[in-house]
C-alpha cells in the first residue's frame, strides 16, 4: 500500500521531468513588434523574423550567412543571364496542397502588386526580367544583365500559396485566411501588439521543430523582456541588453539557470557624412557661424574624426562589450570584408595634426544625429563620439530622434553626420546601397545620403555584381570595399554583437542575421 502510494506520487513527477512526454510548448520573447503577417508587406526585420516561421524562401540562409538550399533544391546559372531553380519535391503547404513553380512565380510577382507597402520587397525582384515555368518543379529566371547575386535576392522573397493568396489582401494574412505557407509552423492566433501563437505543421518537409506549440511574445521593453525570462514566463529572449549580459554571466544563481548565445552579427554601425553640400547645415565654426566650405569634404578631416575614436573603449564601455571595432561596412566572415583589413588606428594626437593640416587648427562645431530606439545603445554611442570629437577640438552636439522621424529626415539628407546601422550578407550589396552613386532608376545608392560618388568604386561594385562565380564576386567586393574605405566616405564604428538568453535546458544556433527562428531552438 505504502509502495503504491509512493508510486502514485512519483509517477506524475517522472512524467513531468521527462521532456519528451510533456506537451512541449515554447515561448519566446521578441524585442520588436510585427506590424503585419503578410510576408510581402514590409521589408523590416521584425516582420521577416515572424514570417520565417510560416513561410520559406527558395534560397535559405544558414546561421553563418551562407546560402543553402531552401524550397529550391539546387540552382545554377545556365548562362550569364539565365538561372535555373529546381524545386524540392514533396513540399506541402499548410493546407495540404503541393508546392509548384506556379506558386513561386506568383510569389515573385506579388511584392510589386502591393503598392501601399511602406517598405516594399520590390528591390529583390527588380533584377528579374523574365520567368519561365519549365515544369512543375523547374523554373527559369532571366535577368537583363549578368547578375550574380540573384540567389541572394531570392533569399528575401517568401513563397506563398497562390491558391490561398491570389485574391487575398494584407488583412487576410493577419486574420489567418491567406496565411498558408510551407514553413515549420502554422498560425493559431495573432494578437496584435501582444503575441503570435503558432502550432507545429506536421507535414513539414524538413527537420521538425521540437515544439508542439510556439508563442512569440512581443516584449519591446528590455527590462520587461528580461524579467519575463527570469520569471519563467518565456523560455528564451532576444536582444539582451549589455548591462544584463554581464549580470547573467556573473551571478552564479542566474548562470546556473540561464545560458547565453552570442555572436558578432551582420549589423555594422557607422557615421554617414555630408559629402555633397558646400555648406553643411550642422557644421559651423566654434562660434556657431557658417564655415566658408564644408570640412567633411576634406579627407584629412574625415581621417581626423575617425582616428579620434577609441573604438575599443566604445565597444567595451558604451556597448558593455556588445560590439567589435569595425573598419569595413560588412561584418567579418561576410564576402567583401576581407581576411584582416587594416584597422582604423586610435590616434588623437595624429587626429589633431590632421585637423590643423586641413586648416582647422582650432577645430569646428558639429551636430551628430541619430535614432534613440533603433540600435543597441544608439544614443549613448553618439554621446561617446561627442566626447572623442570634442577632445580633438571638434565641439560636438548630439540630437536624437525616434526612428520614424529620424529616417524621414535622413531620407531628405537633412543631416551633416548621422548614425546608421546596416546588415548585409554580401559586400557588393552593401556597397551598392550605401556608397554607390545614387540613381533612382537602378536603386543604386538608395541609402547613400552623403552622396559619395566614385567612378572606380562604382566599377568595382558593378563587376562584383555581374560575376556569377561566388569566389570572384567576393574578391571583387573586397577590392571595392578597400577602394571605398580608403576615402572614408562614412566612418565605420563597430559590428554589433547579438545576444540571446535561454533557459539552461535549451540551445539555439546564434544567427549572424540576428533573427530568432524558434524552429531551431532545441532541448539540450
Amino acid at each position: 500500500m505504502a509502495r503504491r502510494l509512493l508510486l502514485s506520487f512519483l509517477l506524475p513527477l517522472l512524467l513531468l521531468a521527462s521532456p519528451s512526454l510533456r506537451a512541449a510548448g515554447l515561448s519566446v520573447g521578441l524585442a520588436a513588434d510585427v506590424s503585419s503577417l503578410d510576408p510581402h508587406y514590409l521589408n523590416a526585420a521584425p516582420n521577416i523574423a515572424v514570417a520565417s516561421h510560416f513561410f520559406e524562401t527558395l534560397v535559405a540562409v544558414d546561421k553563418d550567412g551562407q546560402l543553402v538550399p531552401g524550397l529550391a533544391q539546387s540552382w545554377q546559372a545556365v548562362n550569364p543571364t539565365t538561372w535555373e531553380f529546381k524545386l524540392r519535391p514533396g513540399v506541402k503547404f499548410h493546407d495540404g496542397s503541393p508546392l509548384t513553380a506556379e506558386d513561386v512565380v506568383f510569389s515573385l510577382e506579388r511584392p510589386a502588386s502591393l503598392t501601399q507597402s511602406p517598405g516594399p520587397f520590390t528591390g529583390f525582384t527588380r533584377a528579374i526580367s523574365g520567368k519561365k515555368v519549365v515544369d512543375a518543379h523547374t523554373l527559369r529566371l532571366t535577368t537583363a544583365q549578368p547578375y550574380g547575386p540573384l540567389p541572394l535576392d531570392l533569399a528575401s522573397i517568401f513563397i506563398v500559396s497562390k491558391k490561398a493568396a491570389a485574391k487575398a489582401g494584407t488583412e487576410d494574412f493577419n486574420s489567418g485566411k491567406a496565411l498558408v505557407g510551407t514553413g515549420p509552423f502554422r498560425l493559431l492566433k495573432f494578437r496584435r501588439g501582444e503575441a503570435v501563437e503558432l502550432a507545429r505543421f506536421d507535414g513539414y518537409w524538413g527537420e521538425k521543430p521540437a515544439w508542439d506549440t510556439l508563442t512569440l511574445r512581443i516584449l519591446p521593453a528590455d527590462a520587461a523582456r528580461l524579467a519575463a525570462l527570469l520569471a519563467g514566463q518565456v523560455d528564451m529572449i532576444e536582444g539582451v541588453p549589455g548591462a544584463d549580459v554581464a549580470r547573467l554571466k556573473k551571478d552564479a544563481r542566474l548562470s546556473a539557470n540561464f545560458r547565453l548565445e552570442q555572436r558578432v552579427s551582420w549589423r555594422t554601425l557607422f557615421l554617414q557624412l555630408d559629402l555633397f553640400r558646400d555648406a553643411s547645415p550642422f557644421v559651423t565654426d566654434l562660434a556657431g557661424k557658417p564655415l566658408a566650405k564644408n570640412p567633411l569634404k576634406d579627407l584629412k578631416v574625415r581621417q581626423a574624426l575617425s582616428r579620434s575614436i577609441n573604438r575599443e573603449a566604445l565597444a567595451a564601455r558604451t556597448l558593455d562589450g556588445l560590439g567589435v571595432p569595425a573598419s569595413r561596412l560588412v561584418a567579418p566572415g561576410i564576402p567583401g570584408h576581407g581576411q584582416q583589413p587594416a584597422a582604423e588606428p586610435y590616434d588623437p594626437e595624429g587626429a589633431k595634426r590632421l585637423l590643423a593640416e586641413a586648416g582647422y587648427p582650432q577645430g569646428f562645431a558639429l551636430t551628430l544625429h541619430g535614432p534613440n530606439n533603433r540600435y543597441l545603445n544608439d544614443e549613448q554611442i553618439l554621446q561617446t563620439l561627442a566626447q572623442f570629437f570634442g577632445r580633438i577640438g571638434v565641439k560636438t552636439k548630439v540630437e536624437t530622434l525616434p526612428l520614424a522621424a529620424y529616417f524621414g529626415r535622413l531620407r531628405h539628407a537633412d543631416f551633416s553626420a548621422a548614425l546608421l546601422g546596416w546588415g548585409s550578407l554580401s559586400g557588393d550589396f552593401a556597397l551598392r546601397t550605401l556608397l554607390g552613386t545614387p540613381d533612382e532608376k537602378s536603386g543604386w545608392g538608395a541609402w547613400n545620403w552623403g552622396r559619395f560618388s566614385d567612378a572606380r568604386v562604382d566599377a568595382d561594385i558593378r563587376s562584383a555584381l555581374a560575376s556569377t562565380d561566388p569566389a570572384r564576386r567576393s574578391r571583387a567586393a573586397e577590392t571595392a570595399m578597400d577602394q571605398a574605405m580608403q576615402q572614408l566616405p562614412v566612418i565605420p564604428l563597430h559590428h554589433q554583437v547579438a545576444t540571446w538568453a535561454l533557459r539552461a535546458g535549451l540551445t539555439y544556433p546564434a544567427r549572424i542575421d540576428e533573427f530568432t527562428f524558434a524552429a531551431q531552438v532545441r532541448p539540450r
Partner: protein
Amino acid sequence: MSESRPDSTPDSTPISTSAGGGVAARCMGRFSSSFLARFAANPAGKLALLLLALTLLTAFAGPFLAPQDPYDPAALDILDARLPPGSAAAAGGTYLLGSDEQGRDLLSAMVYGLRLSLVVAGAGTGLACLLGAALGLTAGYFGGRWERLVLALADLQLSFPALLIALALLALSGPGLFKVALALAASQWAYFARSARAAALVESGKDYMAAARLQGLSHARLLWRHLLPNCLPPLLVILPLQLAAAISLEATLSFLGLGAPATEPSLGRLIANGFAYLLSGQYWISLYPGLLLTLAVTAITLAADRLAAVLDPRRQED
C-alpha cells in the same frame, strides 16, 4: 459681497474687505519683514524654508562649485563610465557619488540637472500662470461668450492628463528644452485660468470695483490696477504647487527621452540613464538623482502648503 461683514476685523479678512491696490501693497509689506517670520512660525514652516533654501542653493550656487562641467562632452571620459561612489577619476579627483554611463561625475550632473529642471519647470509654470491669469481674469470680468470659450478650453485641457497633453505636443514639435517649457505651460494653464476666473467673479461684484467702474476707468486699468492685485493670492497659492507638479512632469518627459537633450541631462534623464543598470547592481546612477528630485519636489510642495496657510486668512493659526 456677503463676505464683507462689518463685524469682522480688518486683519482677519484683509483680502475681501480692502479696496483698490491696498492688498497688494499690504502683501508687499509683509514680504519685506513679517512674511518670512509668519511663514516660519511653526516647525513645518521652518522645515519647508530650510529645504527650499537648500534646494535653491544647490541648484543655483552648485554649478559654480561642481568639480566638472557635465554638459561638455570633451570633459567626460568613457573609460570612467559607471564607477561606484568614491572612485578616483582618471583625470584626478574623486567621483563622490559615482559616475554615469558616459563617465559623467554624478554629483556635478545632478547639480546641473536640478538647475535645468527648476529653470524649465519654472519657465513653464510662469508661462502657464501668465496665460491662465490673463484668460481667467478677462473671462471673469467680461463674461459672456468669451467666458464660455475660456471655460470650455480649460475643461478640455483638464479632461486630459497633463502628461498626455505634454507628450502629444512634444511628439508633434520634437524635443527641446524650450518646447518642454511650452508643453508644460500648455498642460497647466487651465488651473490658473479657473482660479483667476473664480477670483475675478467674486471681486468684480464688490463695491470697490463698482466704484472704480463709476469713475469711468478703462477696462485695461480696471483689470490691471484693481482686479489683478486682488486676485493674486489664490494664484500665488497654486503657483508653487503647480511648480512642483511641473518639475515632476519635466522629469517624466525627460525620463521618456522627450525632454532635455542626452548631452545636457536634467534629473529625469539622469534617472533614465541609470534605469538600465538598476537591476545589475549599479544603483547610484538612478538613486541619487531620484533622491534629489524627491527633495526638490518635497521642498516646494511643503513651501506651497505653508504659503497657502499664510495667505489664507481662514487658516491663520496665530
